[in-house]
């Protein structure tokens, strides 16, 4: 297995494996529920208790989820487009990096304090990170499709005309397909916002989970899969404008917005309490030291440990799962099953998976790792399976599957496997932080606790460092991809990452 990879690939693989083993030694993998097997039985037993007649109960939540996602992606894509046009300015790039480094659930928790439980909070929580992500990716797409020869650009023609005729047409299909992919993500994110109390599908999902009504859980999940799987039928060129208008009209719960709250938040709440109460430099130092020692350092450490373990387990799941959807390895019927399994794992947000596994195994890193690795492994495995199908092998290639895997297929796609994995690293890290809300002691745990204590000054500090950590990981990931000479630009396949 090792001889086949280039030495650089091998170096990187070994370094990350080493970090993985260090992390394992520091991770809490306990299973605290009394009878996880019974929990699993209960959960899957729920399939038999699905009561379709309950569907109308969720109509409001379904419409709310869809409407918020549509309005949010619409506003985000417009903002993102303008960000992309001015992406060359470093200040904008840094601001966008910060904005998208903070998970939409963190944004939601923050805006809840300012605007209350309403639609505005939900919209802002999606729009902020999404417009920042779209801005960056749009800029990359426009740059990648900037192929019109400079010699042919008339100096006298207006820049708008040149942009519209020579750059936008080539990039447009890619911009649209990326936006549609992001719309799917926005639907998932909006559903998840229900877990912090906004009335989207996640709200009901959590409710049913907590009461152990697994039949309802399954019904909501199936509704959710159906919405996602049928996007291309109900969100089309023709229907989009009407859906947009309807969504704007449907969303009306903007109650609780209060300008005073916003002003108080900016001028008082976020100011560190020792400064606010004028307690002097020593107190300020102690206040900050307390946060660093008791929350920031443990939070960062646990977040990194979870991220690195989940990254390697994701890699393992990917390497095991991609043959399941590859023509090179399995029969059509098995491939059908493999595809369904991977689609389900891909479509279920890691937050929901983690929530489920936490119910089953109790709060520790174990359920979090399983959730992150299954979800991300399925995403990369799907793409890798696709790539292995495209490979053209000699006619006299070995018929033995293990040899085929180790000598012919994996060596050819190992580079892109690493590229996708590192592309996903930053996402895994952001999710690791957020899973703290579920009780694992990553950064999200401390942020959630600080919010519960209404210590918003602390929240802001913790969020700031969460974002910095994420930007750092993104930076290292780019360096690693450069070192391995893996393409860093957006390819059509990266769109499904």
């Amino acid at each position: 297995m090792y001889a086949m990879t280039s030495s650089k690939n091998l170096n990187v693989t070994l370094i990350f494996l080493f970090v993985f083993f260090i992390s394992i030694l520091n991770a809490d993998f306990s299973i605290s529920t009394l009878d996880p097997i019974a929990e699993i039985k209960n959960f899957f037993g729920g399939i038999l208790e699905i009561d379709i007649s309950k569907t109308p109960t969720y109509f409001d939540a379904i419409l709310n989820t869809i409407a918020i996602a549509i309005v949010a992606i619409f506003i985000s894509s417009i903002l993102g487009f303008f960000f992309a046009l001015y992406f060359k300015y470093a200040l904008l790039r840094v601001s966008l990096a910060f904005t998208r480094a903070i998970h939409e659930l963190f944004w939601a928790l923050l805006f809840l304090q300012i605007f209350g439980l309403n639609t505005l909070t939900a919209l802002l929580a999606i729009i902020l990170p999404y417009s920042a992500t779209l801005g960056k990716v749009y800029a990359e797409i426009l740059e990648e499709h900037d192929v019109f020869p400079k010699e042919l650009e008339s100096k006298k023609a207006s820049r708008i005309s040149l942009f519209l005729f020579t750059k936008l047409p080539d990039a447009m299909p890619h911009l649209i397909s990326y936006t549609l992919y992001r719309f799917e993500c926005a639907l998932k994110s909006t559903a998840i916002l229900g877990f912090v109390g906004l009335t989207t599908l996640g709200y009901y999902l959590q409710g049913s989970f907590m009461q152990g009504f697994y039949g309802e859980v399954w019904l909501i999940l199936i509704i959710f899969y159906l919405i996602i799987a049928t996007i291309k039928f109900w969100f089309t060129k023709i229907s989009a404008p009407f859906l947009l208008l309807a969504s704007f009209l449907y969303l009306d719960d903007f109650s609780g917005f209060n300008m005073d709250n916003l002003i108080r938040f900016i001028t008082i709440d976020v100011v560190p309490s020792p400064i606010r109460n004028e307690l002097g430099t020593l107190k300020i130092y102690q206040w900050f030291e307390n946060i660093v020692m008791n929350e920031l350092l443990p939070g960062i450490f646990n977040t990194l440990v979870l991220t690195q373990i989940a990254l390697i387990v994701t890699a393992v799941i990917t390497l095991l799962s991609f043959p399941l959807v590859s023509k090179k390895f399995v029969s059509p019927s098995l491939r059908f099953g493999g595809n369904i399994l991977l689609v389900i794992l891909r479509s279920t947000p890691e937050y929901i998976l983690a929530y489920l596994f936490l119910q089953i195994f109790g709060p520790s890193m174990f359920p979090a790792v399983v959730a992150l690795a299954l979800h991300n492994g399925a995403i990369i495995g799907h793409i890798m399976g696709h790539q292995s199908n495209e490979l053209v092998l000699r006619a006299d290639v070995t018929k033995r599957r293990m040899e085929l895997y180790g000598f012919e297929v994996l060596p050819r796609i190992y580079g892109s496997f690493l590229a996708f994995l590192f592309y996903r690293w930053e996402v895994i890290m952001r999710e690791s932080a957020i899973l703290g809300i579920l009780g694992i002691h990553t950064l999200g745990f401390f942020i959630d606790s600080a919010i519960a204590d209404i210590r918003l000054d602390k929240v802001v500090i913790l969020l700031l460092f969460t974002a910095l950590l994420n930007i750092l990981v993104d930076f290292i990931s780019q360096k690693v991809r450069n070192y391995l000479r893996l393409s860093t630009t957006v390819k059509s396949e990266c769109c499904s990452l």
Partner: protein
């Protein structure tokens, strides 16, 4: 208006391709540039273009077409600076009858009238080359610098296209690798090999020996 190079050394991607080149092309001359691929024809054309960009129509070897736009739009691109941004956008969304009337005759002449609203990405290599030529013609400039613009055309269309170009532009420098076409349609040939100009003569003074030399210059086998 003439194009003059004096003892210039030209590089492509930090690699010297042409050394101490001197060249003078006068107004009204129709010049064929011969040489095998990689000999430096494109680098030379690009340099000549820089000498007087505002007066020159330039057809790069990669053509510079926008594949997702129609033939009409790709030709219209050459007059973006002639009209207001508003009018440009209007034509991007829906071509105006006036503009169609301007562009259609050009396409008739190049046997492409039925392809006016076909996307460039769907065209064959030869059709793409003719689109780029139509774009250059519509630009209405005096000088044309073209980098192998007819390599994918058949003999019949080649003749038609070369005549159209000939009638439109005062001065032409056209990179080719077909010696017979060069001698038949141009007034002067320049042969490039190993970073040097090995032959520069008026076509009516070319000897059979010169012709052999040119064949040698263009043959990728040597």
């Amino acid at each position: 208006m003439s194009l003059i190079l004096n003892n210039e050394t030209l590089s492509y991607k930090d690699k010297t391709v042409l050394k101490d080149i001197s060249l003078s092309i006068q107004k009204g001359e129709k010049v064929a540039l011969l040489g095998k691929s990689g000999s430096g024809k494109s680098t030379l054309l690009k340099r000549l273009y820089e000498l007087n960009a505002s007066q020159i129509s330039y057809i790069p070897q990669e053509l510079g077409l926008v594949n997702t736009l129609s033939v009409f739009h790709n030709i219209y691109i050459s007059q973006l600076d002639k009209y207001s941004t508003f009018y440009n956008i209007r034509n991007l969304i829906k071509p105006s009858p006036n503009q169609i009337d301007i562009i259609s005759p050009l396409l008739d002449e190049l046997y492409m009238s039925d392809l006016i609203f076909t996307k460039c990405g769907e065209l064959s290599g030869g059709q793409k080359q003719r689109t780029a030529i139509a774009r250059a013609i519509l630009q209405n400039k005096k000088i044309l610098l073209a980098d192998e613009p007819i390599s994918a055309l058949d003999e019949f269309v080649t003749k038609k296209v070369l005549n159209s170009i000939d009638n439109t532009f005062d001065t032409i420098v056209c990179a080719l690798h077909n010696v017979d076409v060069a001698l038949e349609y141009y007034d002067r040939v320049i042969g490039i090999k190993d970073g040097q100009i090995v032959l520069d003569k008026a076509c009516d003074q070319i000897t059979p020996e010169d012709t052999q030399k040119l064949y040698h210059v263009c043959d990728d086998q040597f």
